[in-house]
Subunit: 303 residues, 2 copies
């Protein structure tokens, strides 16, 4: 199954009646990654029927509240629900102090380990690798320490070519090693090359998350050719100057970045609360890059 | 106009699909007091059409997250909306460090003054007085430093007895001083006593908030005779032991406290997420104290 992205919130700094602050869930293999965790993210999980169990990785791009004020509440609820499994938090280093202070003064008894992985705001960095994915961060230009995230599926097994397998009478016991790329040596000593017995694996899917950032083409190498790019679009381009002053991007600029990076699809979000109607943002981005969609709350998108 | 209480949330520690964590707004005179501020309180304000402007006082009972995790988000939004007016926060002292740390690392520019009033967990204390109300705190027995709050309308003017005013031909210019209790001295030197010219003012209305607390009759003197009492009822009485272990109360116990304190009306809330149907909690409390209501989200109740 391809990875699936769920949008829990897509507002910029101020929530609106219809839009909550930024949070997403990426289901990838058997694992779930939360990306940013604005206030109320745990309520959105309930609303959209996504279980907290299995969220073992939470990536926080930066310490503006609309990207992390929901985290301590989620940790608290995870603990009250009896969580035992380690939780990885990938975030700017000071978040650890903020969380620790709240745990201390609430005398919260957290019965699972929280492993902090501090992000580096200056250079791209590999963060961690699991059975299902590889996660890295890269610098974004915002008013404070901020990183984007790149998530790629892990290495995939080769597919067995059953016609060839039958022809060479390969016993089932060898299937596993052949899928990993090994040759087959029959009882009589004959060697059959792996490329004869297998087909290429399903291509590895990738997702890049860029919020918040000023228009910045230097990120293009980090996000090149991803299947799906999320890029913030706080404003329409008629407010390009305001966007730049506040280190945010316009819909047009997001479209330009998507085109430069040759991505498969662009998802735009982090909309200013001034926009009730989001269609003009979508249309503006599509002028630059046609396969663009709006990150509307409740949206599920296959990568 | 009598004070009005709005319920923004009434869940205990874990939010549910229908119930958000604790928060209330008391409109009193021309002012608004927020009491506790669980995660998502600012979204509930929008949902129920209550403007943030005018919320100049926020009381936080204790530092369990379901009572304050929404505060930093509300402060952030107040700032982004251009607030300039001082905000009073009445809370356990360590909350100041928690808020300051988040403001520091988010490099948030807060353009209004936040005045912290640390609460005392050991003895009842007068906190502050405004044009509309007097606020005090009193100790609650919970697992951590926790206080209840008592809010009374400020001193009210006496009503003019217009028949007597006309009889003594009192000029309009004297009305203001007579309402404050002064006698009237006519031009010819005759003195008319105030009690002849006025009627008693409308009685002062009062509200007491008790969450979270174990069943504790020692609070009765602090809440005696209030018009409205909010008392937590995390559990039904068949879980009285669990309630006591966790320093919470049952519906029956809330009813007993209301009866002992001779309050006008009881409002129960802070319901455990185990209860989908709240009627049994209401019925149990009403056995002890008939004028009891459920603190359902969106409820507006006149005091």
């Amino acid at each position: 199954m391809n990875p699936e992205l769920y949008i829990l919130g897509s507002s910029s700094a101020n929530p609106t009646r219809e839009r909550n602050p930024t949070s997403q869930i990426l289901k990838i293999g058997s694992e779930k990654i939360m990306i940013d965790c604005g206030e109320g993210a745990q309520m959105r999980l309930m609303q959209f029927g996504i279980r907290q169990t299995g969220i073992d990785y939470i990536c926080i791009s930066h310490l503006h509240g609309d990207h992390y004020f929901g985290l301590i509440g989620l940790i608290s609820t995870m603990s009250l629900m009896g969580r035992k499994q380690m939780l990885h938090i990938i975030a700017p280093a000071p978040l650890k102090n903020i969380i620790d202070l709240q745990i201390l003064h609430g005398i919260m008894h957290i019965h699972f380990e929280i492993k902090f992985h501090p992000t580096n705001p200056n250079v791209p960095e590999f963060i961690l690798k699991t059975q299902s994915f590889e996660l890295s961060s890269f610098p974004l230009k915002h008013r404070i320490h901020c990183t984007g995230f790149l998530i790629k599926e892990g290495k995939k097994e080769r597919h067995l070519n059953m016609q060839a397998i039958d022809k060479h009478e390969v016993p089932v016991a060898f299937y596993k090693s052949i899928k990993t790329g090994k040759n087959y040596i029959a009882e009589n000593g004959t060697e059959v090359l792996n490329k004869e017995l297998t087909l290429d694996p399903t291509p590895i899917r990738s997702y890049a998350y860029c919020s918040d950032t000023i228009f910045d083409p230097t990120i293009v190498p980090y996000i090149k050719d991803v299947n799906l790019l999320y890029h913030e679009t706080t404003y329409l381009h008629n407010l390009a100057q305001k966007a730049a002053e506040r280190f945010h991007s316009t819909a047009k600029e997001a479209g330009i970045i998507a085109k430069m990076a040759n991505v498969g699809k662009l998802l735009i979000g982090h909309f200013s609360s001034r926009y009730d109607n989001l269609q003009p943002l979508l249309e503006e981005a599509r002028v630059e890059f046609t396969p663009t969609e709006l990150a509307i709350e409740g949206l599920k998108i296959e990568i």
